[in-house]
Amino acid sequence: MPRVTNPILPGGIERYGRSVQDKRRRRWKVKKTTVKPAKVQKPKTKQVPVGGEKNGGKRVVPVHHSPRFVSVDQPKRPIGYKVGRKNRPAKIRQSLTPGTVVIMVAGPFRGKRVVMLKALPSGLLLVSGPMSINGVPLRRVNPAFVIATSTKVDLTGLEVPECVNDEMFKRNVKGKAKKPEFFGDKKNKYGERQIKLPQERVEAQKVVDRFLVTKVKQTPLLKRYLGAKFTLEKNLFPHAIKF
């Protein structure tokens, strides 16, 4: 098919409309030559052995029986149900790559600039502050609530521990209801209830932080940048600025 140009006129309108474009493409000149695969006819009937002397020994029966009863109450399919939905990997926008510094726009850490480590299979982003710089721990965030900046931290050589996955971040709601003493009455210096994290999560945080901090220190002022919150200032319009 020849490539037909369609320049965009000032004002954002295309030079040629759809019907003109079709004419220019001259699609009717090209004959369709698609080879259809030959249909394999499946047998509709099969022979089955039949007991009893007077029955001839065998009989031809259809392969598929129509059901004897049709239930009036058809089971409802769940709304939005689609086959194979779980296996579809989530699409993350191009600006979000491992190492991108992102600005969180919602949640308790809104305004914080954090480093994206990777996209998890659930479609959420794995981020870390790093915690020692701005207090944001290893955390999952919805990419919709994040602004990607053009600043990147080189993550080559970082191995995020295997235990850091979607499963790790799931809250153990059942356990929480059963034994509230799990969290204990221990309070930190701010008077908040202290939650004891699993050791592997603490370790993973340490590994990631150590790597990130050494990388961040290589760029002057980047550490201070990550420690500072994003705000709009005078003459700074969110639609006009580049991140």
Partner: protein, 144 residues
């Protein structure tokens, strides 16, 4: 205040609207009280009429005859080194700075902010130092 820039043949103008926005051109002739014929062969502006509202007069003027053709304009523009002079002008630098600022990323904007604060601190410390020195000298002179 006396006017120093006039709409006249040879006046270099900065186009501030339309597809040639930001380019320099030269007034070749005045058509009527709203338009002039401009030409900018060195800056990629095709000879065409242009409304006075769409141009800003600059300090520069080149010497071209009446009915000068594009080649003559090109030659005069080059000989007067308008492009070089323009790049040196405060006006062009201001435009360049504005564009640079607009193209900065979030991190670069942060760096600019940090450096601005740093500069402010230095200026302020020098200023207070000088002020104190001046006050001391004044008091010493008064006591004598």
């Amino acid at each position: 205040m006396v006017f120093t820039r006039y709409v006249e043949r040879g006046r270099v103008v900065l186009i501030n609207q339309g597809p040639n926005e930001g380019k320099l051109a030269v007034i070749v002739n005045v058509i009527d009280n709203s338009r002039a014929l401009v030409d900018g062969p060195n800056t990629g502006v095709v000879r065409s009429p242009l409304n006075f509202k769409h141009m800003n007069l600059t300090d520069f003027k080149i010497d071209i005859p009446l009915f000068a053709r594009t080649s003559a304009v090109r030659k005069a523009f080059k000989e007067a080194d308008i492009s070089g002079k323009w790049a040196q002008s405060a006006w062009a630098k201001k435009i360049a700075r504005r564009e640079k600022r607009a193209s900065l990323s979030d991190f670069e904007r942060f760096v600019v902010k940090v450096n601005r604060i740093k500069r402010g601190r230095v200026v302020k410390s020098i200023l207070t130092h000088e002020k104190r020195k001046a006050g001391k000298a004044r008091r010493a002179a008064a006591s004598k």
